[in-house]
Symmetry: C3
Subunit: 456 residues, 3 copies
């Protein structure tokens, strides 16, 4: 097996593992609170030393209040013969999320306003929620709806809405700097594979990889329910926000669509350039809009964090979105592995994208006597020499390697290698580089060593 | 009659009224001073409570001096048989404006240098002036010129050039703020319908409409002779200039050409964005140039006011320009009504284009419990909800509604409605909004109530 | 002979003279030090009062050290029959520049690593150097290389590498201001006609012309070896650098390619706009890159001078580059004259591109009474009047004539004439213009008068 075949085989194996983990997450009935969230975090915690937080119902979170915890024992609509014509046990999308408990018999006419279908897709069950307004309802396929004959139906919703808590998981991976890179993934959707079993699987694998790598930055992975979960995290971490240097919301990472980077609120943050460069030729960049996932909260004007979003298709952007057709057949090992790979490329760029200062800025230093330049003059410089000349010319402390890559057309990897060679030759120095105190670095490394080694 | 037909009928009626008023203004022999200007302002004053200013000849106005007042009793060229072969009574363009008085008999050869024609348009009489250099002359069609046989001609120019004054009219419509919107229209051209009976008619109707509307800004309409008139107004209002927030020079508003917005000197003022947005799809935007109408003075570097210009065709941009063919047949009720409509849209945008601050900027406020967001989650947000999310995300006090409209693609009107709803819900507040003192507002309203109510 | 034919004849004569001077420079065996450089400067000094500097071997120059001086008495490879099969006397490119002295007999196999050819161009001799690493070698055509039969060869390299000096020439032409315009030309290449006998010929003729013209700026022409020569000049002139307002590296100015302006390091200096305007329609503008000629040093981050580069083809950009095919047949009188003409246009723009302040900025001044505007109104303004209006409107001290030319579309020459007319009318004044002290100006003129008058 040659190197290329070996790499392809490794990618495939990685994709298969990602899909298998997504498949374990998929069946759980999640919502913004409740046992489904806890079961989900237990699966992730088996791989990552997540810290799990429980925040009580009733806690004020900015303009919101954490709602009562919702749990489902069972739910069904039964016909006159006692058959479960709509059955939560068959598919957890059948029950509108946060439906209040109910036992009642209704005519079909009375029941009708509580039934939700997708007429354009008669085989699919839609996904609907009513978190903050007491209500109940069922979702079903249009075909199933058409099969309901007039008559009386027994509604059995055995749910509980009671004081409890909102649950989220958090993993901090300290690096040499206190500056943080934040990854956010929503964990509130029930049986929808792309949205967001895929995102949870990729984020988990990414965190394992980051934990094993040397880190300039500290990294934080938050697995939390959408909206109320990110708001809760924001509320509880006011002092941490100023340390967030880069961030990415992850979700919808398993469908066959092209990778899509959505810009931060201003579209001019370093993460915007980094993600666009990482995806060049393999994805697209779209403008910010205040709708989507937790970037809505992270990029609200009072926080305005330097956070973008990585998905494949976007919310509302594929036919199966928010329906039972967003199942395990929609997501593929290839797409999942490709998404994870893009995330790793982004992390590598984040780590390497430093600004340097030329320590011999007056004229060119004599590269030849340092073995960095061909001895025989007269011919054209090679790619490596061009990289060195660009680095020396542009490194006045204001330009990152990525800035130089974009201006010069020299690949980033070539510049990174060149910068290392010039650092070794004492011709470049990282801007504002301070040696981290040995004590602090040791302490951090000790904390970090507890995780991420268990599994390759 | 349905609503759409009714609106079309109202537009037509408005256009017919505009054309009728232009037709009353058209025959008057105007120049930069004299009775023609006064007669013009009397017609406008019958509709608007203009303040009319008289500024004496000889007054220094920056680099200029107000010239002697010019009036015409009669003017003609008579042939040997006493026939008026060129006759001011037949068309006031026949006499070069500011021609000095003269009674003399000349050969055709001697007369020739004083005759002006348009050889390319043999039926049309050109328009020529000699305001600041003593001269005399006649304009006539090339055809009429060709018919003049050699021989002697009697020149009879019964004009007066004597100390008098320059006359202009001004209407101030106070609003809640002292900040002003300035409209400028030139009133110095004789029988030229588009240039500028059309502009005077549209400006008059616009002022009537503004007078009836609630006003955030104060408005000022100046009806003045070109160049020397705007210079005179500038000279006499030094303290007022810093209050001019937006301005528009109006002219050439009746021909069938597309609406044309000419940018302010920098092209980056708010009025530039507003006018461009108001004309989107229905007109064009052209760059500033230091030639044209009174923007030459208002946008000179010593004033540099935020003033653009609205015309249909531009100066020099249509064949009939500055000739007798610029007559009442060139301007149409449809074009006049369309121009007035564009002016009103611009005023509405000026009034509504505020900057807001999100009062709950940390995360999204919970729109659902305020009835501003659909209760059932899972589906895509509607257009109104998208407008609210954009407003909340972008309102950090630095962006106007128009900035948000251009970034988001949400129509301005949708954003304006959304901003009102969010203001009512105490989620947005206008930036720098101060309550106007009740006393002052009452006083202003009292002054304003005297006008604009007479006519719908 | 009409004016146009006369101009063409003058251009041709100028081109022929440029080619003749290049032909005198071409045969000399130059390197970065040695008698070839001195012989070159003697030829230039016969036309310009160059100051010639000698800087000793061993002098530290930033990160570099001036190497021993290299001179060649003779060099050849002789076959067993004593025939000079590779002969420095036949072409000075045959010897690798800075080859150390050697007398030795080698087999062809042992000799092979020291032979350099251009396999893709079997008739051409390449140009190679080894300035900073002791080595020796020969360059020859691939065809000649193929003809070498196995056997023993006698190597005779009679060169000297000994303490001496680096030589460069400098001409300062004082102007009314101490601010300088810097022209840099490399003089280190041996028999290569385009690179850089052409540049030396054009720079010499340009300096003669500048010396005869009135000068707002001071001008400095440096004729120096590449890299080590510009570094030496930079090292010896630290106080002068802050006076460099514009600069241009000249080279490769005789080949038939289009003129090419290479931007300064930032691409946003005035010289960038000036050169681009001067070349509009007759050349191209390319982005900065840190490879090429002495712009590498002048534009290094520690100096970052406002210096661009003018060539026709670029380094590495034509097949004959750095080979014996870069000979006198490659460069043409037409191209040389065209290059000189472009240089003169650039100097004229540098001299004339001033910023003005409108002295009557409030409104338009009355041009008519100053004879600057047609007396009879009503027609369109002419091109000259448009130029005056643009100048008055834009001259607030922030915009140069070139800025105005680019915004308005009015040709620069028209604006320059207009600015002079408005200066005479006391309507414009040069920004920050100070009268140079009469004493100082006289002194400078005295010094300048010694040169450049000898030859037209």
């Amino acid at each position: 097996m040659d190197a290329r075949t070996a790499a392809a085989a490794a990618d495939l194996a990685e994709g298969v593992a990602l899909h298998a983990f997504a498949a374990r997450l998929y069946p759980i009935c999640r919502s913004i609170t409740g046992e489904g969230v806890r079961a989900t975090l237990r699966l992730i915690r088996a791989r990552l030393p997540l810290k799990v937080h429980e925040v009580p119902s009733g806690t004020r979170v900015f303009d919101w209040v954490i709602p009562p915890e919702w749990n489902v024992e069972d739910a069904a609509v039964l016909d006159a013969d006692g058959r479960r014509v709509i059955d939560f046990q068959a598919h957890n999308l059948h029950l509108v999320s946060y439906s209040e408990p109910l036992r009642r018999t209704l005519t079909l006419e009375e029941l009708a306003p509580h039934l939700h279908t997708l007429p354009a897709q008669p085989e699919w069950i839609p996904y609907r929620t009513s978190y903050y307004q007491r209500a109940w309802g069922f979702c079903l396929s249009e075909r199933a709806r058409a099969a309901l004959s007039p008559g009386r139906y027994r509604i059995e919703i055995r749910t509980s809405l009671a004081p409890g808590s909102l649950t989220y998981g958090e993993l901090a991976l300290p690096g040499r700097s206190r500056e943080e890179v934040l990854f956010f993934t929503h964990i509130c959707h029930p049986s929808l594979a792309n949205d967001n079993a895929s995102g949870m699987a990729v984020a988990t694998a990414l965190a394992e990889w980051v934990a094993r790598e040397p880190r300039r930055f500290s990294y934080r992975f938050v697995f939390a329910p959408g909206t109320i979960g990110s708001l809760t995290w924001l509320k509880r971490n006011p002092a941490r926000l100023r340390h967030v240097r880069h961030g990415l919301v992850l979700g919808l990472l398993g469908d066959p669509g092209a990778l899509t980077y959505k810009e931060s609120r201003s579209g001019t943050r370093e993460i915007d350039d980094i993600a666009a460069y990482a995806l060049a030729g393999a994805g697209r960049r779209i403008a910010f809009s205040p709708y989507g996932y937790d970037e809505r909260q992270l990029c609200s004007p009072g926080f305005d964090l330097p956070v973008g979003r990585l998905t494949r298709s976007v919310n509302g952007g594929y036919p199966e979105y928010h329906s039972s057709a967003d199942d395990l057949a929609l997501i593929t090992p290839t797409a999942l592995a490709d998404s994870l790979d893009a995330c790793r490329r982004i992390v590598e760029l984040i780590e390497a994208n430093q600004r340097y200062v030329n320590l011999k800025p007056r004229g060119e230093p004599q590269l030849g006597r340092r073995g960095l330049y061909g001895a025989l003059g007269g011919g054209a410089p090679g790619a490596r020499e061009a990289a060195l000349l660009w680095l020396l010319n542009q490194s006045d402390g204001t330009r990152s390697l990525l800035d130089i890559a974009r201006r010069s057309g020299v690949p980033f990897a070539e510049l990174r290698e060149g910068a290392r060679a010039l650092e070794r030759a004492r011709l470049l120095r990282v801007t504002g580089a301070r040696r981290p105190s040995v004590k602090r670095a040791t302490k951090r490394a000790a904390r970090a060593s507890k995780i991420g080694r268990s599994k390759s």
